[in-house]
């Protein structure tokens, strides 16, 4: 009577920024749930190692080198996915950069570089993957990895705020536009998750601000992504799923 552990069987998923951190946890969860998974990232060694670790030799888990902000790279990723698996059902646009720069001292180039990857990249991914989903006409599910910084402000992160707030509304607009085709688009808003991106943070200084009193793990985000990507999320589109240990409740 228990529900299937392989709830993504027959589905093809693309996960960007999957060499490490949240993206790697999502890719691993999807692979364990029966999906064919294309991991993307810029670092070939790390990405190849992640795919090998997750797939353990499975041919339906592969790494493709790609820069999320490059339109040409997206064309290549979709070509690989179509050739290997014949379809695309799920996109998790997870890749993102982050650094702390006070606004008055931020060069336009710094603002633009981060948003190229963090905001334009998911737009390109959505565009290419929607085209692929339309080929089979069975719909699909897209998860844009935003952040609590897409809900509340954080000093020193004006570029990151722009990207993450942009993703939140991009998901809603896309949800309205694509709903009739059964293509669902939602955003996840992680709080403090233990990854390389947060490795430099002073955990003991930050933890008092988190009601649940700890950093989250990649697995916490992976569980949320699987919920939205799977059939369990079939009536859910255009929503923001906050996974932050209660940070933004206050």
């Amino acid at each position: 009577m228990q529900r299937s552990e392989r709830e993504l069987a027959g589905k093809v998923a693309i996960v960007t920024g999957a060499s490490r951190g949240i993206g790697k946890a999502v890719a691993a969860k999807f692979a364990r749930s029966g999906a064919c998974v294309v991991l993307t990232g810029r670092n070939v060694d790390a990405g190849t190692a992640a795919a090998k670790e997750i797939g353990g030799g499975r041919r339906d888990v592969m790494f493709v080198k790609a820069d999320q902000g490059s339109d040409a790279d997206w064309t290549a990723v979709l070509a690989h996915a179509q050739k290997a698996f014949g379809r695309v059902d799920i996109l998790v646009a997870n890749a993102g950069l982050s650094n702390n720069v006070p606004t008055a001292g931020m060069e336009l180039s710094q603002f633009r570089d981060l948003n190229r990857t963090n905001l334009k990249g998911p737009f390109l991914g959505l565009k290419h993957c929607v085209a692929a989903m339309r080929k089979h006409g069975e719909g699909g599910s897209v998860v844009l990895m935003s952040s609590i910084v897409g809900m509340v402000g954080v000093p020193g992160y004006i570029h990151y705020s722009a990207a993450k707030g942009g993703l939140r509304l991009m998901a809603k607009a896309a949800a309205l536009e694509l709903g009739a085709e059964n293509i669902r688009v939602n955003s996840i808003h992680p709080g403090m998750i233990r990854t390389d991106m947060t490795a430099g943070f002073d955990e003991q200084a930050v933890i008092p601000r988190i009601p649940l009193g700890k950093f989250g793990e990649g697995e916490d985000i992976a569980n949320a992504a699987l919920f939205l990507a799977s059939n369990r999320g079939k009536f859910i589109t255009g929503v923001q799923l906050v996974v932050d240990g209660g940070w933004t409740v206050q």
Partner: protein
């Protein structure tokens, strides 16, 4: 029994039909023992039988969520039968549609006492139970899309569901300060084809088609979809989620 909720007990209010009944079934599929409560004994016993058909265990308890003594009784009998509970789904509630100018004080008091006070009492007694039994509990309060956005002719309903949305956040803060920690989240269904809706607007195919056409996903919501969301929020799949609003509305609230 195996599953994400093996060896856990979950109390579901308003479990005699609709979303509450489907929540009982979905939670039981993940191995939970179920206490299904509500005022309609016939419907409650049917829910218990349906859980039994799945191979699960379910106790039906007659329960008026407005009455604090009923809450004491529900927690006592749950603990007696299955041990201390691990989860509570505050699902019971009523719907009410009337223009603002025609809504009487009695109308308002009635829906308020059920939707707001009933939910408050549930959170209160769950906190007491989790603290006494040293249980890392989880609570799901069923609010509504109408606890996030306005809707014409539904001032009383929107008020009560907005109250649940905000109470959930305060409860999440207090629950996080408990030891062990208790998570509290709200679920916000859109239009779900249940007796609550059909009892108000009629069980009419043309009407459900119209609701579907007005929903971005072009489908009508079914109670089993809400049950999947409730199960997610009760289980450890949402271990790092508290005070959150999970909307499940086919995209209606995205515009």
């Amino acid at each position: 029994m195996t599953g994400k909720l093996a060896n856990r007990t979950v109390i579901v209010t308003g479990a005699t039909k609709g979303i509450g009944r489907e929540a009982c079934l979905a939670l039981a599929r993940e191995g939970a023992k179920i206490v299904a409560t509500g005022r309609d004994e016939k419907g409650g016993l049917e829910t218990a039988a349906l859980v039994g058909d799945l191979g699960g265990e379910c106790l039906y308890l007659r329960h008026d969520i407005r009455k604090e003594n009923d809450w004491r009784d529900v927690f006592a009998k749950t603990t007696e039968r299955f041990g201390a509970p691990h989860g509570l789904v505050n699902n019971a509630g009523i719907f009410f549609v009337k223009p603002l100018a025609e809504t009487t004080e009695e109308d308002f008091d009635n829906i308020y006492s059920i939707n707001v006070e009933g939910t408050f009492l549930g959170v209160k007694h769950a906190f007491q139970s989790f603290a006494a039994s040293q249980t890392q509990g989880a609570i799901v309060n069923v609010s509504s899309l109408m606890g996030q956005v306005g809707f014409p002719n539904a001032i009383a309903y929107c008020a009560t569901k907005g109250a649940i949305t905000a109470m959930t956040k305060t409860a999440a803060m207090e629950g996080a300060a408990m030891s062990p920690k208790v998570r509290v989240n709200s679920l916000h269904p859109g239009v779900i084809w249940t007796p609550m809706i059909t009892g108000t607007f009629g069980d009419d195919k043309a009407l459900s088609d119209a609701f579907a056409a007005d929903t971005p996903l072009k489908m009508i919501g079914l109670p089993e979809y809400m049950a999947d969301a409730i199960t997610f929020l009760i289980s450890d799949d949402s271990a790092y989620i508290t005070g959150a609003e999970l909307t499940a509305d086919g995209g209606r609230g995205a515009d």
